[in-house]
């Protein structure tokens, strides 16, 4: 089966674009004060590009928010600032370090600690501080079994929590953004996209990505079946031997818990070929945070995670 030469597949991506743009416009109209969550990863890159296409030739009518764990890949921060300029959009940054300094969260000081989970508090504080009523996220239902259950417009209570047992019905994708003070909604325009769709769209629209999505040489250490970048938040433990390898990242998250994969894919076409034959999901291959337990994503989502 050759997916890449099949024209009907490109029609599929165009239809996903129509759906996503319609969601972005609808949520923007229903909820007075939206924000777009931008991580610098490929899904948020696609989301930002879609927001730009939804309102052209006008500007994107809402800001983008980056939750900065302080454990970043430098390439991603540089990319984030470049994209804010490219799309002429207001960039807000909420720092986990500020939440730690103000005592809102306490940093786990064990050697393998990740700030990934602390992000939820920083995010909810930023939503509350700016009075955002809706937050666009790049989450996709094919990523994880808890995300597979989530509505396009997902209601959060005053505590920022998601209650998977009491989601609002969403017949005909008629989006209901009605909230009371202190509540907000998360909206997922890429709900029905797969990893392959995202890469096809990146190719079709020539969307720039951080360089770490493509092959490069990097000193990594293998830990729990994952290749973690040495330096920064990842500290070598006794007996661990770092190696220089030819790798790329399949997802981009907090540097302390995002793994690289061995790959020689140097451009989008190479990556598309790689993804089309992949036998492991992107989060299974690259995210220590999801593999922590069977319901790790559900637990974090309940607390207000992206």
């Amino acid at each position: 089966m050759n997916l890449l030469s099949d024209e009907s597949v490109d029609v599929g991506v165009a239809e996903l674009e129509d759906e996503a743009i319609s969601i972005i416009r609808e949520v923007s109209a229903e909820c007075r004060s939206p924000v777009l969550l931008f991580s610098g990863g490929k899904d948020s890159a696609v989301l930002l590009h879609l927001a730009w296409r939804a309102f052209r030739p006008a500007r994107i009518p809402f800001p983008v928010l980056h939750v900065d764990t302080g454990h970043n890949f430098p390439e991603v921060i540089e990319y984030r600032d470049r994209m804010a300029e490219r799309y002429d959009v207001e960039l807000l940054v909420a720092r986990v370090q500020d939440s730690i300094d103000s005592g809102r969260v306490v940093e786990d000081d064990s050697p393998r600690a990740s700030r990934n989970r602390l992000q939820s508090v920083t995010l909810l504080d930023a939503i509350s501080e700016h009075g955002f009523t809706a937050a666009f996220g790049g989450g996709r239902r094919d990523e994880d079994k808890a995300r597979a259950k989530e509505r396009i417009m997902s209601f959060r209570d005053r505590f920022g929590q998601w209650d998977p047992r009491a989601q609002r019905p969403e017949p005909w994708n008629l989006l209901n953004g009605r909230i009371r003070a202190g509540e907000h909604v998360r909206a997922f325009p890429l709900s029905n996209w797969t990893e392959l769709d995202v890469w096809r769209y990146i190719r079709e629209q020539s969307i720039p990505l951080p360089s770490i999505y493509f092959t490069h040489r990097r000193v990594v250490v293998e830990r729990d079946g994952m290749l973690l970048s040495v330096g920064g938040p990842v500290v070598l433990e006794a007996g661990e031997v770092p190696r220089e390898m030819q790798v790329r990242y399949r997802t981009v998250g907090d540097a302390s818990c995002t793994g690289a994969i061995e790959s020689s894919a140097s451009n989008v076409d190479d990556v598309l070929r790689e993804v089309a034959v992949a036998r492991i999901t992107e989060r299974g291959a690259t995210r220590a945070d999801d593999n922590f337990s069977d319901s790790a994503m559900e637990d974090r989502k309940r607390e207000g995670y992206f």
């Binding site: 006008a58 500007r59 019905p169 008629l174």
Partner: protein
Amino acid sequence: MALRIATAGSVDDGKSTLIGRLLHDSKTVFEDQLRAVERASKRYGDGTTNLALLTDGLRAEREQGITIDVAYRYFATPQRTFVVADTPGHAQYTRNMVTGASVSDVVIVLVDVRVGPTEQTWRHLFIASLLGIRQIVLAVNKIDLVDYDDATYNAVVAQVLDHAQRLPYPVDVVAIPVSALNGDNVVDRGDNTAWYSGDSLLGHLEGVEVDQRHDQGARLPVQWIIRPHGQEFHDYRGVAGRLTGGSLAVGDEVVVLPSGERTRVSAIDRGGEAVDLALPTQSISVQLEDDVDVGRGDVLVSASAASRPVVASEFEADVCWMTDRALEPNSRWALKHTTRSTRAIVTDIVARYDVETADTLPADRLVLNDLGRVRIATMSPLVVDPYESERQCGSAILVDESSGATVGALMIRNTGA
């Protein structure tokens, strides 16, 4: 375009197992997902790998062995791309079944061959009929547990086909004997049902044709007005929305409803790029020749449309009631229809549908999971079509004004025109 499928049927009929089997046997399950399911199967005490855990992703679902909310899965074969909504069987989660089924092309109704159709089977068939889903697959499951007996299978099929005649809107039922557990007739035909001559479930889904009803003429419910700042776009005004009902071309005459003002389309953009022609389901923005009054909630309609929607503030609708609080006459709600939100009064409960007999009964209230016919009056006039001819302008939701919860799914029927 992907084929959208929803599962339906009673609890324990094996819906999630069937979808798990479909994904597994079509080789669209990733290795780490399968390993995780194998680990979880051991933890929850299943002797063999429980394929239902591929879609029952919530902790409460895994602990109780049931499906609470819709799970969406995506897979492709060389013939077709599929979106599967695995929906819950419990009556208390009917609202989630309606969510999953409302946008589907095909509904797979599972029946346990040993038990035969249950109240939930009839309820889900009735909902599929109301939702206008024509293509129904009757998957008669657990055929292995009756030793692949064709007489037992035929009796179940006859009962369902007979009932289908009485549904309010027509459905085409295709029956397939399957064993979700063993895989018979799911992806491969297998050797155990030599008496069955049809396709496997996947074979049927790969070939099934769905009617794209876009013959009413273009309707563009307005979501947003694009107004760029700056001299370059001084007079630019883009009327943005998602097209339905028919195609729209530059130069077409359009009517703005409810006002009735007429103008012509001077330009169409899709994703900010100019196109001459837009097709149904595309997200577009159009510029108009004249400076007419048009805003969010209005609908642009092609002047040459085969049928025009009606401007109405009173109409009848079928309703799926989805909350604990009963629906009573003269109750007040918020209502969302296309891109317009307004307030509504349910003036009358016209009838309740008995899903087991498909009879229409008199009623003075509807309770959780009831299906019925109501009469509605709205504060602002709406631009409506009968649901059976145009789904976007024919559907609406009722919202509880105090909690914000979505409480009713409406299919507009009698527009009074």
